[in-house]
Amino acid sequence: MHFSRKNLGIPYAVFLAVFVVAPLVVLLFYAFTNGQGQFTMENLTGFFTDPNALGTLFYSLLIAVVTTAVCLLIAYPTAYLLATSKLKNRTVIVMLFVMPMWINFSLRITALKEILTILEGNLAMHPFLNAVIGMTYDFLPFMILPIYTTISKLDGALREAAMDLGADRTRTFLEITLPLSLPGILSGVSMVFLPAMTNYVVLDMLYNSTYIMGSLIGSYFAAYNWHGGSMIALVLLCMICIFTLLTGGEDETARGGALL
């Protein structure tokens, strides 16, 4: 066959079809069938009538919202201070904030667990608090990085123009810097919110994972209930889709994309 550049894409297109599209089709199929391969809505109605499943959904939403808020509250000032500072070795210092991302999360959570055990004694006493602390600790760099990138790319002349036109520091921040850093905030929120809803292993390690969506899949998986598990996965996927549309899509380079 004659060589053509477009044909290079064929293997990847096939790969995507087999390992991305096909699994989702199978997921959809399993979600709406029962063990005998017959079409059923039972999995769907089962999920939405099971108080346990619904409770898990709301609990994991709550954890995700609080974790995202805490991350944002810490990350925004951090990113702002970093981006507006005149530090000489700014890239090095920013790197310090991003570096934990490259240490295996399970090892970092192990470390955190040791500290929390000292502070709290019995970790089972504060499950919600520990969930938020653990996830904040794990995801914080993912929130700092996109916000930092957005603010440091802001044209300094815009801030100067606002001051030139009579806005003091506070108003310049509220009317110029904050609205213009919104894309970074959104990207950071999507980097934190979605994992916070599904990353049950962080909570697992901190002795509390029963009430989070991801672990629900895990429990069906452990019980070889593919159909129920598929339905949970599908519900999650739908929520992810809605969320992604709301935040205007994830920043493509944000995930682990520091300096790379």
């Binding site: 005149k86 000489k88 044209d155 002349a157 815009l158 100067e160 123009a161 606002a162 001051m163 030139d164 036109l165 009579g166 806005a167 003091d168 108003r171 310049t172 009317e175 110029i176 609205p179 213009l180």
Partner: protein
């Protein structure tokens, strides 16, 4: 309006940046009258934008004071100064529409919305963009963004409008149009404009007063005519318009020696004064060989539409001439200049500088003598290869034809000798003057260059001497062609 009152005064302003210790502005003084159109003109990095930023309040001077209407504003943050800026790349707020951009300043002052609406309409009318209120910034062309930036500043009725290279991003045609419009706006509104540009033509067209700056220092302050016709320094002469610039010496009352000849002039300096002579290309006349003040050979002729640009080499000197009559390369011609067209400036120092060559072995050479110095020392970061060629800091081979090396040496470092073969170059003493404890000589060399030499001993006029110039006393500067 009182046009004699100073609206803003800059007193001994110096700005040294903390991070790298760079002196951006050095003891800058300026008085601006109410309603004036003042332009800061200079090459990039000359301190003009920094000065503007200090007036706006974005940068704080290291020392010195800025007075607005006689009162110091040094401690005032930008948002409390009745001064507005049109930024280089406009700095329009991308998340606001045109109306909100323009209204921004008035909103900060809590102006009633009704009045804001009226004034936005008025100012949009002024910049010829009626009805643009609802448009977003990204839908505008560069020229339109420019007008919005001006409108956004003007609506606040500032006492001074600062414009930082506002036309830099526009194409030539648009730039010419905006120049005229800005000038008309200035005349109509009566607001004081302080304008920053590196474009000399823009400065000459628009300004009441031009401040020429270089390396953080004021070179000259004056009207466009003054700056063009009577440049105060060699830098100004070089920067404004095209000029032939020569260093020379006064050889008598209204007589100056430069470019290998003795010219009559109208600027009166004492005999022996070291001078810089400026001759505009359009003021040089080509006359038959032998009848001019100096003679030379036509090196190149370029047709420029309105005129020919002719380069004549007279020994090692180069004279650029603009004339409507063509010439042929290789022709021997004479050159003359009317005395009133020669502008003489007292030289800042008496350094002799002269071009040196790079020979085929990549060594420096002057008048056939190899100079015992290393090219790699002159070109930072360069390396010499086995075959003698030189690599620059980026590892690229340096083409000797692309660079020019200028050597400089102080008059006291040159020694004269009778031994004709001992020195680097030979010449005759064409001028001498006693300066109290030493004589200052001008030696006219075979290469048609004049060297200034200090010597304690008395030599005679027209003595033939050879010049001893130690390489270790020379400094070399690199220029790209």
């Amino acid at each position: 309006m009182d046009r004699t009152e100073n609206i803003i005064e800059l007193k001994n302003i110096t700005k040294i940046f903390d991070d790298d210790g760079f002196t951006a502005v050095d003891n800058f003084n300026l008085e601006v009258k109410r309603g004036e159109f003042v332009t800061f003109l200079g090459p990039s990095g000359c301190g003009k934008t920094t000065t503007l930023r200090m007036i706006a309040g974005f940068d704080v001077p290291t020392s010195g004071d800025i007075l607005l209407n006689g009162k110091s504003i040094i401690g005032l943050p930008p948002y409390k100064r009745p001064i507005n800026t049109v930024f280089q790349r406009y700095a329009l707020f991308p998340h606001m529409n045109i109306y909100n951009n323009i209204a921004f300043g008035l909103r900060q002052k809590k102006t009633p919305e009704e009045e804001i609406r009226r004034r936005v309409r008025k100012v949009l009318d002024l910049v010829d963009l009626e009805g643009f209120e609802g448009r977003s910034v990204s839908t505008l062309s560069g020229g339109q963004q420019q007008r919005i930036a001006i409108a956004r500043a003007l609506i606040n009725e500032p006492e001074i409008l600062l414009l930082d290279e506002p036309l830099g991003a526009l194409d030539l045609k648009m730039r010419k149009e905006m120049q005229l419009e800005l000038k008309a706006m200035h005349d109509k509104l009566g607001i004081t404009f302080i304008y920053v540009t590196h474009d000399q033509e823009e400065a000459l067209t628009m300004s009441d007063k031009i401040v020429v700056m270089n390396e953080g220092k004021t070179q000259q302050i004056g009207t466009p005519e003054d700056i063009y016709n009577e440049p105060a320094t060699a830098f100004v002469a070089d920067f404004i318009g095209e000029s032939n610039i020569f260093s020379g010496v006064m050889t008598g009352k209204l007589r100056a020696r430069f470019c290998g000849g003795e010219f009559l002039c109208v600027d009166d300096f004492p005999e022996g004064t070291h001078i810089t002579a400026v001759v505009r290309p359009e003021d040089v006349e080509i006359v038959p060989a032998g009848t001019g003040i100096i003679s030379g050979v036509v090196d190149s002729v370029i047709f420029k539409g309105m005129h020919y640009e002719i380069t004549v080499l007279s020994g090692r000197n180069e004279m650029v001439i603009q004339t409507v009559n063509s010439a042929r390369p290789g022709d021997r011609v004479g050159l003359r200049v009317d005395p009133e067209n020669i502008h003489i400036i007292q030289a800042e120092d008496h350094t002799n500088s002269f071009p040196v060559d790079i020979n085929s072995a990549h060594r420096l050479e002057y008048n056939g003598h190899t100079l015992d110095t290393s090219l790699t020392r002159i070109i930072k970061g360069s390396k010499r290869l086995e075959n003698g060629s030189i690599l620059d800091a980026n590892g690229e081979v340096i083409d000797p034809a692309r660079i020019r090396i200028q050597a400089s040496i102080q008059p006291e470092d040159i020694e004269m000798t009778d031994d004709q073969d001992a020195g680097l170059v030979q010449g005759t003493i064409s001028n001498l003057i006693y300066l109290g404890d030493h004589y200052s000589y001008v030696i006219h060399t075979e290469l048609e260059q004049d060297f200034v030499v200090y010597d304690e001993d008395l030599w005679n006029m027209d003595d033939r001497v050879s010049l001893l110039m130690p390489v270790e006393k020379m400094t070399f500067t690199l220029r790209k062609k």
